[in-house]
């Protein structure tokens, strides 16, 4: 559906290319030719070319219509897709070695509610797993604190370039994570120990946040009123209450999904339903809520509160027209991260189909992250984030032969073996 726009833009962009300089200091200049280019939103371009100039796609169309400027590196592949977008990960925080105190910054066990923890401060761009997923075409991830406490901390969105959290960040805060269910249970006399207590603590914190916001509002409206003493945790809660950040609630059981929806209704906050193993039991309620689903990895282990998960959930969400994306999620052990390419592949073969599966890790994920104007589709003006494959990207035996982030070739298939 986006094809006409793409074709139309080609001539225009060509003109701009000819008038503009060919070399930029900002990034390399790259052109990519694909036997087929999947635009990420269902569009296909046979024997297409896209040109990335200064980090953005500057031209795209049939190979015959696109003149590749001199001096550009030309990459070629059987199949070209947008750089993949992982809607929920912990890479960069949950390091590859899994050594407590060394590279495990995905959960701070000090207390149950810590919305002040910024993912930006915890992200190691040079962790092996960031490079790993980059090698499989993943260019954008929402990563952050793991769903292992009631409110484990914040999430942020980052390109997988591996330079620095600041340089690579797309959004420095993209959501506040919360967990309802077994993973949020604390042992002994620590709260929460039950689901009832989890909801009581969440409600109490949100009510505290409401008072904080009201106090801030009064102070800004009336010079005689003092603003409340600054509280980093309540700052984050306030951003959720003001609708500036979504509450990304990990809930697997249907009853926990219902609790999340009830909470959102009471406090008028924006949710992303995360994990959501049993969302297939809640299609009507989720659809009515309008909230998107950040669905568990298709191959997530079906144990504990996720024991009823299904390979077909993605297909059912798709059929119900519920916005969703497939995540890599959190793994405590082996494999230390999943790869959304592999997870979407299994969903594709279990009812979702190729186009919807690809959308679930490109355009669909970008929409949930509010980045649909930058990443997740291939079109003129979008970030030059591209994945290259030597066949059907979902086939087990296909290789990702190249990954490009904003025009820079960041992987050339070296992770495939």
């Amino acid at each position: 559906m986006t094809l006409p726009r793409l074709f139309g833009s080609a001539a225009l962009t060509l003109a701009s290319l000819l008038s503009g300089g060919l070399v930029s200091n900002a990034s390399a200049q790259v052109a990519i030719r694909g036997d087929v280019i999947h635009t990420g939103d269902g569009g296909r371009l046979q024997n297409g070319v896209l040109v990335i100039e200064d980090g953005k796609i500057s031209a795209m169309g049939p190979a015959a219509d696109i003149v590749i400027p001199g001096g550009f590196e030309v990459l070629s592949a059987a199949v070209v897709t947008p750089g993949l977008v992982d809607v929920r990960s912990v890479v960069g925080l949950a390091g590859a070695y899994a050594i407590e105190g060394k590279d495990q910054d995905q959960v701070e066990e000090g207390s149950a509610i810590q919305p002040e923890l910024r993912a930006l401060d915890a992200y190691n761009p040079r962790d092996e797993l960031v490079a790993w997923v980059r090698g499989f075409g993943v260019t954008t991830v929402q990563t952050g604190h793991a769903p292992e406490e009631l409110v484990p901390g914040q999430l942020f969105i980052v390109k997988t370039r591996g330079v620095s959290a600041d340089a690579d960040a797309v959004k420095t805060v993209s959501g506040v994570a919360a967990t309802i269910g077994e993973a949020a249970v604390r042992s002994g006399k620590d709260s929460p120990g039950t689901r009832g207590k989890m909801m009581a603590l969440l409600r109490a914190k949100l009510i505290e946040g409401q008072a904080y916001v009201e106090s801030q509002n009064r102070a800004s409206a009336d010079e005689d009123k003092d603003a409340p003493k600054r509280d980093l945790a309540l700052d984050a809660i306030a951003a959720v209450l003001r609708g500036e950040l979504p509450l990304v609630v990990t809930a697997h059981r249907a009853q926990d999904i219902a609790s999340a929806l009830r909470l959102a209704d009471e406090f008028k906050v924006q949710l992303v339903l995360d994990g959501a193993s049993e969302s297939y039991l809640m299609l009507d309620e989720i659809k009515a809520s309008g909230f998107p689903v950040s669905l568990h990895a298709t191959m997530k282990r079906s144990v504990g509160e996720a024991e009823n998960l299904s390979f077909q959930t993605a297909a059912k969400l798709h059929e119900a027209s519920i916005p969703f994306a497939i995540q890599s999620g959190y793994e405590a052990y082996v494999p230390k991260t999943r790869v959304v390419l592999f997870e979407a592949a299994v969903a594709a073969s279990h009812g979702l189909g190729f186009d919807a599966a690809l959308a679930s890790i490109t355009s669909g994920a970008a929409r949930i992250l509010g980045l649909q104007d930058r990443v997740g589709t291939l079109a003129v003006g979008m970030d030059g984030d591209v994945a290259l494959f030597d066949g059907d990207p979902f086939e087990y035996t296909t290789h990702c032969v190249g990954t490009v982030i904003e025009g820079v070739v960041v992987a050339r298939g070296e992770r495939q073996r």
């Binding site: 070695y97 407590e100 191959m299 144990v303 024991e307 299904s310 082996v334 592999f342 299994v346």
Partner: protein, 450 residues
Amino acid sequence: MILPLLLSLAATAAPPLAQGPGAPGGPAGPAEPGATATTRAFVGARILPISGPEIETGVLVVSDGKIVSVTAGGAVPEGAEVIDAAGKTIMPGLVCTHSHLGGIGGADGSGPIQPDVRVSDSINVRDAGYMRALAGGLTALNVMPGSGHLLSGQTCYLKLRADASTIEDMFIRDADGAPTGGIKMANGTNPMRGGAFPGTRGRSAALVRQQFIAAQEYMAKIEAAGDDETKLPNRHIGMEALAEVLSGKRVVHHHTHRHDDILTVLRLAEEFHFRVVLHHVSEAWKVADEIAASGAACSIILVDSPGGKPEAIDVAFKTGGVLERAGVKVAFHTDDWITDSRLFLRMGALAVRAGMSREGALRALTLSGAEILELEDRIGSLEPGKDADFTILDGDPFSVYTKVLETWVEGEKRFDRGLPEHALYAEGGYGAAHDQEPYFCCFGLQAGGQ
């Protein structure tokens, strides 16, 4: 129990597979005598016998739980039930050489070496994991205790037979009727837990050596006693199991990841002359020639990313191909719950993507696994006389889009994707994990639990 009579049947059946497609017994051949009411002929499928070349359009005949013939358009015995398998692919039931399905519990926290423990005493045969395994095309498993011990107990080789009510119904038995199995050992970080357990690699090896020396002494006492029962040592079931290891009767299935840990296993195996299969071997690609020289086989796992613990940081998809080219016998395993038995075929495909031959990867899912479990005379390939354990696919084994349609064990259909109650296990959904007890190996340790 059904072993002897079938071998004679095989003798009268179709030509052996080694002759390949196009061999004698064309489509117009006369009906073979001797068909019984339970004889079934699967006609028209692409058949991957593993022990021989692929047959483009073949006929698989099974009877009384055994394979009668595998031919390219060969004869269908008179009276046989004919099953149209056109467009489908039939291959041997997959053999998983390392699984933890069944809610198992082996050795406990009382010590690092517990050869007296039998994992078979802990298995829930109704665990939904076994249905999931069937949904993945698996028919035989080596079910093992975990890797949090230097030696965590005796393993058992199981068939996913119909109507198993007790573990005895699942055992694969030897010629004497005894359940088959190996013994599980581990080195590297998982058993290094402090307390009664070792804290270092050196200590780990020392504890194992000391234990095997004790077993040698136990065996020597028995030998010295000769016919004089009064001189026999007191019976010690742990020592009995170790004696089976040292006498070559019971193979060691050894968890080991890092290249130096792999070589330590080989060193101990050489010193004490036990037979060993190297499991996981994340860094086998660094010491492939040394492994090849030892003659040890490898049971490997491929996972979707490296790490999770330091010794798995260099795990690589290429391991299967590297070992294959070095001449090492390679089988795959699920390590279920580490990977999902329903997606076992995927592991072969991942190996192929990283350079293993297609033929080698198919073998590593079937016949090589059977050889590692020393069951190659009965399972692992489609050959006359072998158990009728096979799986029927709707496409190429190594395509993501392929589904397991049916799985048959000893001539009985155990999984049928067309049945909603079976599809539940294949796809997941509400109730798909009933009765299922996850076993996390050392997951609890990593998460600070246990």
